[in-house]
């Protein structure tokens, strides 16, 4: 099990180093998106419209932060991951179109998304679910918020993070998928009960 501290954006070379089971910490800028934002990203892509923030070769964080207004800005209070599988249907296309380097979330994604990840050299990184207070410690600031008309949790939050983690590699660029393995084994054990 390797441990890596990477700065954002992640290079193609760095992302290929990561293997299932490794632990990663990220420093730099990432963008949150959840259900409604994924839907809108796809619409923008199909209409050839420019996204409000550069997401090419970036990291998408499945998260709807809890933030408090502080002066003219926002302070992130709690910002753990949300379930990735809800946006699973949108992900293959988004990963291919934006050449996303890493998806950060919880619970993993289905087979078609994992295939898109292998093809595009993208990894799935799991932040410990429910650990919103811990995640907020690693968020140094909110750079911008876009699409707040979707509701604050569903907006695109551009976050500056430092040593953001622990992130566990759940799916790597070789297509190895820890969630699939665990589930297959669970079904096998259930059948042999």
């Amino acid at each position: 099990m390797g441990e890596f501290t990477l700065s954002l954006p992640i290079s193609g070379k760095d992302v290929r180093k990561l293997k299932v089971g490794d632990v990663v910490y990220l420093t730099g800028v990432l963008v949150t998106a959840r259900d409604r934002a994924h839907h809108r990203i796809l619409r923008f892509l199909s209409e050839g419209k420019k996204l409000p923030v550069r997401m090419e070769e970036g990291v998408i964080y499945h998260c709807g932060p809890l933030a408090r207004k502080e002066g003219s800005g926002w302070k992130i209070v709690s910002a753990g991951p949300t379930t990735s599988e809800r946006v699973d249907a949108f992900l293959p296309q988004i990963i291919r179109a934006l050449r996303v380097r890493a998806v950060v979330g919880k619970g993993g994604v289905r087979r078609k998304t994992a295939e898109a990840m292998r093809e595009m050299r993208c990894v799935y990184l799991a932040f410990p679910g429910g650990c919103g207070a811990l995640a907020a410690q690693r968020v140094k600031g909110v750079k911008r918020i876009y699409w707040s008309d979707l509701g604050l949790p569903e907006a695109l939050w551009v976050l500056e993070v430092e040593d953001f983690g622990p992130l566990f590699v759940g799916i790597d660029t070789k297509g190895k998928n820890r969630y699939e393995e665990v589930k297959r084994e669970a079904v096998r054990r259930l059948r042999s009960r």
Binding site: S78, P128, G129, G132, L152, K183
Partner: protein, 288 residues
């Protein structure tokens, strides 16, 4: 004796929201510490370590454990002899509004079809409020559950053929837990409602989650079912966050009701490790 007042209930509801979102009940924290000791997978242990660190941080800084502060669900247990002069639902709504404004709750509640977010966590049916009468008691107990949707989305209901019996129930629960995998943030607590009619079984499944973890069901056959299911769930190897490991579940709670001879309804309600529940007993002002 002076009555239980509006202000008293409002204050109590607000304190419950604040404490539930920022700190875990002691039984749950204890179970997570034990899980950390017992876990053998390296990834699983690191995830549990992060969880315990998160619990410490949230408590120390009085900030929400998880950004999904859930759907607020209030159960008011009202003594038939309590001198209550308060509109309980109004009190709950005011407390939710205040807790949201002060950043103890994320504004997560939306219209189910338009998805419009009022930003207050208030809307038709939210907070969910239910009332239970308590015979002969002179107090009111307010129980709050902040139910996150990562786990709530994994809820399942079925009506089994009665011939499938307890083995059928176990199989359904295990399939539900495996299908949920890492999505409900394991280690989980599994609430199960058996019997009644459809809505009744789901309601029992949720009420089961309110029971303290250390306490097994007073009915011996139900207690055995809880134990056996707990073992079977932990044998799946799903582990913390679905990344593999020994500890998938820190509690199984079963509630039951008699049902129709043609039916065997089973409801499953999964609770993430961040089981945010809190309760307080209100007596007349000054006697709390």
């Amino acid at each position: 004796m002076s009555p239980i007042t509006q202000a008293q209930v409002e204050r109590a509801c607000f304190e419950l929201l604040k404490s539930a979102s920022t700190r875990l009940p002691p039984d749950v924290e204890r179970a997570l510490r034990r899980a950390f000791e017992e876990e053998t997978s390296e990834t699983g242990k690191m995830n549990l370590q992060a969880i315990l660190e998160n619990v410490r941080l949230a408590k120390r800084q009085c900030i929400p454990l998880c950004q999904d502060t859930g759907t607020p669900i209030f159960y008011f247990r009202i003594g038939t002899k309590a001198d209550l002069r308060a509109d309980l639902e109004r009190a709950a709504r005011k407390a939710v509004r205040d807790a949201t404004r002060l950043g103890f709750l994320r504004p997560s509640i939306v219209h189910p079809i338009t998805r419009e977010n009022p930003g207050t966590n208030l809307g038709r049916g939210v907070p969910w409020v239910s009332y239970v009468p308590l015979r002969e008691k002179d107090w009111v107990e307010v129980v709050l559950l902040l139910k996150g949707s990562g786990s709530e989305n994994m809820s399942r209901f079925t009506v089994l053929d009665p011939a499938l019996g307890v083995e059928g129930v176990k199989k359904f629960v295990l399939e539900t837990v495996i299908a949920a995998g890492g999505k409900p943030c394991p280690p989980i607590i599994v609430g199960i409602g058996i019997g009644g009619t459809s809505d009744g079984a789901m309601n029992l499944a949720k009420l089961a989650l309110l029971r303290p973890l250390g306490e097994s069901h007073p009915d011996g056959s139900i207690a055995r079912l809880e134990r056996e299911l707990m073992e079977a769930i932990n044998e799946t190897g799903i582990g913390p966050m679905g990344l593999g490991g020994k500890v998938t579940c820190i509690g199984v709670k079963v509630e039951y009701a008699y049902t129709h001879t043609a039916s065997l309804p089973v409801g499953v309600n999964i609770q993430c490790w961040a089981a945010r529940k809190a309760s307080v007993r209100l007596r007349s002002e000054g006697r709390r």
